[in-house]
Amino acid sequence: MPRLPLPPEVDDLLRKPNPAVVATLRPDGSPHTVATWYLWDGERLLLNMDESRARLEFVRRDPRVSVTVLDAESWYRQVTLLGQVAELVDDDDLADIDRLSLHYGGEPFGHRENRRVSAWVEVESWHLWPRE
């Protein structure tokens, strides 16, 4: 499957604040999925989570993830990315979650009590459905 850069139709889909689901792996190998915000910078995907989230422990143990992004206008159109969490960064000033929150809702993130962590995902392969 092709790597970076992603072709225009995939890049377009990822740049919008579309609904997405991220899959991680539990220690017993079973899949764990959850809906998520994401931000695509053209090369890597930013995910962000409360530091108490189970999936943070899962990706620390096994960095492999899969993310499916659904076109909000027609969810039958979707792109799935396969990759690895290349970097985990403490979001100390909540700058990353604010970027995500502004992207999705136009306002800074509301819950500012808990510590959060950013995960930067490097894409290794992808597929778009339906094919274009």
Binding site: P5, D41, G42, E43
Partner: protein, 113 residues
């Protein structure tokens, strides 16, 4: 890839860059890069980065553009001033100019060589 085929693909890739067909240029140049001899690989990979930098900038992918410009300059540097008939020195100048534009916050890059 035979030398003549590589030559033809290089010309095609550069022509696609000049026409602003950056995604297609990257695909053509990537094929040349993958088939290239070790001593030539950085040259072709550098040209792939040039194509991708302008592609990313055109799509508003700021971080992607920044990273690609930097990688392009790093890979192509050792091939200056000229390699395989390509004016590498001129490309490096335009990469530097593009990096300065991106640093100032714009993604409106002038057309590459």
């Amino acid at each position: 890839m035979a030398p003549l085929a590589a030559r033809v693909s290089l010309e095609a890739g550069l022509d696609l860059i000049r026409r602003g067909e950056y995604f297609a240029a990257h695909e053509v140049l990537e094929d040349v890069w993958r088939a290239a001899e070790p001593a030539e690989r950085d040259f072709y990979q550098g040209l792939v980065h040039v194509a991708v930098a302008w592609y990313q900038a055109g799509r508003g992918n700021r971080v992607g553009a920044e990273r690609q410009l930097e990688k392009a300059a790093r890979r192509l540097g050792p091939y200056a001033p000229e390699h395989e008939g390509v004016d590498v020195a001129s490309i490096l100048e335009q990469l530097a100019a593009a990096q300065a534009i991106v640093e100032l916050g714009s993604l409106e890059l002038p057309p590459p060589p």
